[in-house]
C-alpha cells in the first residue's frame, strides 16, 4: 500500500506491506531509537508521536501513518538532549534501552500537562516500563527539568 506522510520533518512517500507495524517500518527507515520491549503493548519502549500524540508504534500499522506527521527521537534531538541531560545528571539513563520511548512520552507530557503533580507525572508515564532505575531517578529528573523550565533556565 502506498503511504505519504511526514517523518521527522521530511515528506516520505513509500510502499508498505499492509501488515507491517509502524515500529518495524520506522526502524527500517533508520529510526533506530524506536525500540521493542514486548509483543503485548505493555512496555512503552516503542512510543512515537503521531500528530503530536504519543502512540505505541508496535501496535500501530505503518499504513496508519498515511497523511500524518510522525516524530521519533531522531526528529527531537534538541528536546532529547535537553531533558536527557537531567536524566543523565541523576544517573538514571542507566542501560538506556527504555530511554527513547520514555523521553518521547515526557516530551508529550510537558506539552499536555501544565505544572503536573507527582501523581499526574506517574500516571501519565505509567505505561513506560523501566527495569533498571526503579523510577525514582526518573521522577527526580522530571521534577528538576520542570523546575528549570519554569524558572526560565531552559
Amino acid at each position: 500500500m502506498k503511504i505519504k506522510f511526514r517523518l521527522n520533518g521530511k515528506m516520505v512517500t513509500d510502499e508498505v506491506v499492509a501488515d507491517t507495524p509502524l515500529l518495524e517500518y520506522l526502524r527500517s527507515k533508520g529510526c533506530y531509537s524506536v525500540k521493542r520491549g514486548c509483543e503485548t503493548s505493555n512496555c512503552g519502549l516503542c512510543t512515537v508521536l503521531m500528530d503530536g500524540k504519543p502512540v505505541l508504534s508496535c501496535t500501530t500499522l505503518a499504513v496508519r501513518a498515511d497523511g500524518k506527521e510522525i516524530l521519533t527521537l531522531e526528529g527531537l534531538q534538541k528536546e532529547a538532549e535537553e531533558f536527557g541531560g537531567f536524566l543523565a545528571d541523576q544517573g538514571a539513563d542507566q542501560c538506556g534501552f527504555c530511554n527513547p520511548g520514555f523521553i518521547m512520552n515526557v516530551i508529550a507530557m510537558t506539552k499536555e500537562l501544565e505544572d503536573p503533580t507527582e501523581e499526574e507525572i506517574k500516571e501519565y508515564l505509567a505505561g513506560n516500563l523501566c527495569r533498571c532505575t526503579g523510577y525514582q531517578g526518573h521522577l527526580r529528573a522530571i521534577q528538576a527539568y520542570l523546575e528549570a523550565k519554569q524558572g526560565g533556565i531552559l
Binding site: A80, L87, D89, D93, Q94, C95, F97, N99, N128, L129
Partner: protein
C-alpha cells in the same frame, strides 16, 4: 593523587548517546543482510524426538537452512558464563534429540526474512516420544525418571553432582553441633520458605548476530555480560578452536545476570558456521520469558535458636534448589543462600548449611541479581523476624544484639573477617529515616486499612574470591590523552564511567582525557566479565594497579627526555618535573614517545582478590494494607547501604533504587507459573507483571560508608545486594499488619485475603 572524580556524581560517559536514542545496541548495528534465525521449540516437557521432517519447510522461498540435532557440531557444554573449569555441568548440546522442557530448542531455521522463517517453522513436522516429566522439584532427587541419563553428561568440578540421581550439586558445611545447641535454646523458630523462579526482564531481550570476517574467523556481536566466556562456550559448543572466534559487546539494554548465560549466541553462530553468511537472532519477549535463564526456584528450610534474652545461638539452613532442565549456575547460586544469610549474625555457637540442587523439566535457571543470596536472605531474615515476634522483642533490637560488626570473623562466610562493616550504622540510620519507633509494628487507620512496617538486613559479596580476574590496559596517546581498555561489561550500570573516574584520579587528569573502550575479545585485556558484583571491586583494583605502573613509565620517559635520573622526577598529571628544576609536559612526552622510543607508554595489569568483602545494607518498608481485600501498597521504602567508598553516588543510588523495585516486584507479584503439563503461563508482560512507576511508593536511599582496605579507594560492591531486602521486609510488614506469616513468594493480595479469611 587527588580525589577529583571518585565519590562525585559524574554523568555516565555514554549518557548523551543513550538519551538521544543513538543506534548503539546489538540490533541497531547488525548488518542489514543478516539471515534471520528462529528456534523451533518443544511443545512437550520431556521426550525424545523420534522423527523430524524438514523437507516441506525447506521449500519455503527465502529459507536458507534448517538445522536439527543431526547437525549438532560439538559435544556437551554449559551455557553458564563462569570461569573455567565451570562448576556448572556440561549437560547440553545446541540441539539435542531429547527435549527437556516446554520451550527447549528442537530446530533452528534461518532465512532471508521473518515471514519466510515463521512459515517454515510451522511446516516442520516432529514426532516425539513423550516421557513423564518432573514438574515438582521436590520429587526430583532420586526419581526414576532422569532428566539427564546420557553417558556423556559431565561435571568438571567436585560439586556433588550425579546425573543418575537428578542431582546437579549437593554439599554441606557446618560449625559445631547445631542439633545439640538448638535443643538447648529457649526458643527455636522453624520455617520452610519457598521462592519462585523470577525473570530478570531486562528491557532488551537476548540477542546476537554473527558473521565471518576477513580472516575467516567467526565474529559474534552479542548483548552479553561475559564476552570472554562466550568465546570459550562457543568453542565448546561448535567444536572449533577459540582462536577462530571473536566476541564483541556493544551497549547492552540491561542484564541483571540474565546475560551471564549464553542464551542466544549459539544459534546464529551455528548458522554462520554452516552457511558462511551473517545471521542474527532477536528473542521475542515470550522467548525471553520461557527459554532463558531465570532465578532458581528454592525451598529453604531454616531453624533459628535463641535464648530468651534474645541471643541467637544457632542457625541451620537447608536449601533445595531447582535448576530446571539444565545446570547453568545451579551448583553456585545455591551456596549463597546460606553463605550470605547466616553470616549476618555473629557469635553463633553452631550453624549448618546443606543443600541439594536438582534437575527438573522446566526452563533452565540461571543467574539473577542476588544469585541465591536473595532466596536465603528472605528465609533467614523472615525467621529472625518471627523469632523477634516469639520473644516479644523489637526486631531491630534483636538485630542490634546479634548482627555482625566490623572486625568480626564470619565463620559461615568462609571464615573471612568483616574488615569494613557499617551495618550497625545502616540499621540505626534506617530506623531514624522511617521513624521505626513511632510506626512499629502498625497503626490502624480506622477505615479497614492498616499501616505497618517491616525490616531486613542483607549482605552480598564483591566478586568471587580467588577466582574472578579483572584486567585493564592503559596507554598514553598523542598529546597525552589516555585509552582505558577494559574487559568488563558495562550493561547500563556505568562501570565504564566509574573505572574512568578511578583512572582519572590515579593519573591526576580530567575525566575527558580518559577514553574507555570495551569489550572486544581480540583486543580487550582479559576480564571474567561483569557478574558476582565484581567490577567495581576487582576490575577497579586493576585500574589502580595499572595506573600506578603507567605513572612510573611516564616518569621514566620524562626523566630520560630531561636527562635526569628517574628517581629525581615527579609527575603531577600534566608534567614530569624535577622539583625546582626542569620540566616536560605530558603532551611532549606522549608525542615524543611516537618517535625513536622503545619504552611503550602502555601497561596492562591484572587483579584477583583472595577475599570478597561483603557490602551490607538495611531495608525498611512501610505499607498500607486493606484488611477487607488483602490489597496492599508500598508507601515508603528506606534503604541504607554500606558499599564502602561510593565511587559515583548517583549511579550507586540508582543501582539501589532499581534493585529495590525488582525486589518489590519479586515480593509482591512477579511469578513464573507452570501449568500441569509444564507450560509456562508467565510468557509475556501481560501475565508476568513487573512494577510500574505507580507501584513503588517513595524510595529513599542513603549510604553509610565503611572503608574496605582491599578495595579501590575503599570501595566494595553495590550491584546485587540491593535486591535482597524487599522480600523479607515486605513479608514482615504484612505480618505486622495481619498477624500472618507468608513464606511463599510472591505475597499476592489474593494470598493475603485467603489468609485473613481463613481460606488457605
Amino acid at each position: 593523587m587527588k580525589n577529583q572524580f571518585v565519590n562525585k556524581p559524574v554523568r555516565k560517559k555514554d549518557a548523551m548517546a543513550l538519551v538521544t536514542g543513538k543506534p548503539v545496541y546489538t540490533d541497531d548495528i547488525a548488518p542489514k543482510d543478516c539471515l534471520i534465525c528462529k528456534v523451533l521449540r518443544s511443545p512437550i516437557a520431556h521426550g525424545i524426538i523420534e522423527e523430524i521432517n524438514t523437507a516441506i519447510a525447506e521449500k519455503v522461498p527465502g529459507v536458507e537452512c534448517i538445522l536439527t540435532y543431526e547437525d549438532n557440531p560439538g559435544g556437551r557444554f554449559t551455557m553458564a558464563g563462569q570461569t573455567y573449569p565451570e562448576p556448572s555441568p556440561y549437560d547440553r548440546l545446541i540441539l539435542d534429540k531429547r527435549v527437556r522442557y516446554v520451550g527447549d530448542a528442537v530446530a533452528i531455521v534461518a532465512g532471508d526474512d521473518e515471514k519466510a522463517v515463521d512459515k517454515a517453522l510451522k511446516l516442520i513436522k516432529v514426532k516425539y516420544r513423550e516421557i513423564p516429566a518432573i514438574l515438582d522439584f521436590r520429587t526430583a532427587k532420586d526419581n526414576e525418571i532422569l532428566v539427564h541419563p546420557e553417558e556423556d553428561w559431565k561435571s568438571l568440578c567436585p560439586v556433588g553432582a550425579d546425573n543418575k540421581r537428578n542431582l546437579c550439586a549437593s554439599a554441606s558445611d557446618a560449625l559445631g553441633n547445631v542439633d545439640e545447641i538448638l535443643a538447648d535454646c529457649d526458643f527455636v523458630v522453624e520455617g520452610v520458605y519457598h521462592t519462585k523462579a523470577n525473570q530478570q526482564a531486562m528491557m532488551e531481550t537476548f540477542r546476537t548476530y554473527s558473521y565471518m570476517d576477513t580472516f575467516g574467523r567467526l565474529n559474534v556481536v552479542s548483548s552479553t555480560q561475559v564476552p570472554f566466556h562466550v568465546r570459550r562456550i562457543l568453542s565448546n559448543a561448535l567444536g572449533i578452536p577459540k582462536s577462530q572466534i571473536r566476541v564483541v559487546k556493544p551497549r547492552i539494554g540491561g542484564g541483571f545476570g540474565a546475560k551471564q548465560t549464553v542464551v542466544t549466541e549459539v544459534y546464529p553462530a551455528l548458522v554462520t558456521m554452516k552457511t558462511g553468511k551473517p545471521a542474527k537472532i532477536i528473542y521475542t519477549r515470550e522467548e525471553s520469558q520461557i527459554a532463558s535463564s531465570p532465578r532458581h526456584e528454592m525451598e529453604v528450610t531454616v531453624k533459628v535458636g535463641a535464648n530468651k534474652d534474645g541471643k541467637i545461638r544457632a542457625i541451620s539452613v537447608y536449601t533445595l534448589s531447582n535448576t530446571g532442565a539444565f545446570g547453568e549456575h545451579g551448583p553456585t547460586t545455591v551456596g549463597l543462600s546460606g553463605h550470605k544469610s547466616i553470616p549476618l549474625y555473629s557469635g553463633l555457637e553452631a550453624y549448618r548449611f546443606s543443600y541439594d540442587v536438582v534437575y527438573s523439566n522446566v526452563c533452565s535457571a540461571g543467574a539473577y541479581r542476588g544469585y541465591g543470596a536473595t532466596q536465603g536472605i528472605f528465609a533467614v531474615e523472615s525467621a529472625v523476624n518471627e523469632l523477634a515476634a516469639k520473644l516479644h522483642m523489637d526486631p531491630v533490637k534483636l538485630r542490634e544484639m546479634n548482627m555482625v560488626r566490623e572486625g568480626m570473623i564470619m565463620p559461615a562466610y568462609y571464615g573471612e573477617t568483616a574488615n569494613s562493616c557499617a551495618l550497625d550504622r545502616c540499621l540505626s540510620r534506617a530506623k531514624e529515616m522511617i521513624k521505626w519507633d513511632e510506626k512499629y509494628p502498625c497503626k490502624d487507620m480506622g477505615n479497614g486499612k492498616v499501616r505497618s512496617v517491616g525490616v531486613a538486613m542483607a549482605m552480598q559479596g564483591s566478586g568471587i574470591s580467588s577466582c574472578d580476574v579483572g584486567s585493564v590496559t592503559l596507554k598514553v596517546n598523542d598529546d597525552g590523552f589516555y585509552s582505558l581498555m577494559v574487559g568488563c561489561t558495562d550493561m547500563g550500570t556505568g562501570c565504564d564511567t566509574i573505572l574512568a573516574q578511578m583512572a582519572a584520579d590515579c593519573l591526576d587528569c580530567d575525566l575527558d582525557k580518559i577514553v574507555v573502550s570495551g569489550v572486544d575479545t581480540d583486543v580487550s585485556p582479559y576480564d571474567c566479565g561483569s557478574y558476582a558484583s565484581s567490577t567495581t571491586y576487582v576490575t577497579g583494583m586493576a585500574v589502580v594497579k595499572t595506573a600506578e605502573k603507567l605513572r612510573e613509565k611516564i616518569c621514566e620517559n620524562g626523566a630520560a627526555l630531561l636527562q635526569v635520573e628517574k628517581e629525581e622526577v615527579e609527575f603531577d598529571g600534566n608534567r614530569v618535573f624535577v622539583p625546582g628544576g626542569p620540566e616536560i609536559s605530558l603532551k611532549d612526552i606522549a608525542n615524543q614517545a611516537m618517535c625513536n622510543n622503545t619504552n611503550a607508554l602502555e601497561v596492562t595489569e591484572q587483579h584477583s582478590s583472595p577475599v570478597s568483602p561483603p557490602p551490607f545494607m538495611v531495608g525498611m518498608v512501610e505499607i498500607e494494607l486493606d484488611k477487607i481485600t488483602g490489597q496492599y501498597e508500598i508507601l515508603d521504602y528506606v534503604a541504607v547501604v554500606d558499599c564502602g567508598t561510593v565511587i559515583n553516588p548517583n549511579l550507586a543510588r540508582v543501582q539501589t533504587e532499581g534493585g529495590l523495585v525488582q525486589g518489590i516486584g519479586m515480593a509482591m507479584y512477579e511469578d513464573v507459573i507452570y501449568n500441569e503439563k509444564g507450560k509456562n503461563y508467565s510468557s509475556s508482560f501481560m501475565q508476568y507483571k513487573i512494577p510500574t512507576r505507580l507501584d513503588m511508593g517513595t524510595l529513599r536511599v542513603e549510604f553509610e560508608s565503611s572503608y574496605e582496605p582491599t578495595g579501590p579507594f575503599g570501595a566494595k560492591s553495590i550491584g546485587e545486594i540491593v535486591i535482597n531486602t524487599p522480600n523479607p521486609a515486605i513479608a514482615h510488614a504484612v505480618f505486622n499488619a495481619t498477624g500472618l506469616w507468608f513464606k511463599e513468594l510472591p505475597i499476592t493480595p489474593e494470598k493475603v485475603w485467603r489468609g485473613l479469611h481463613g481460606k488457605n
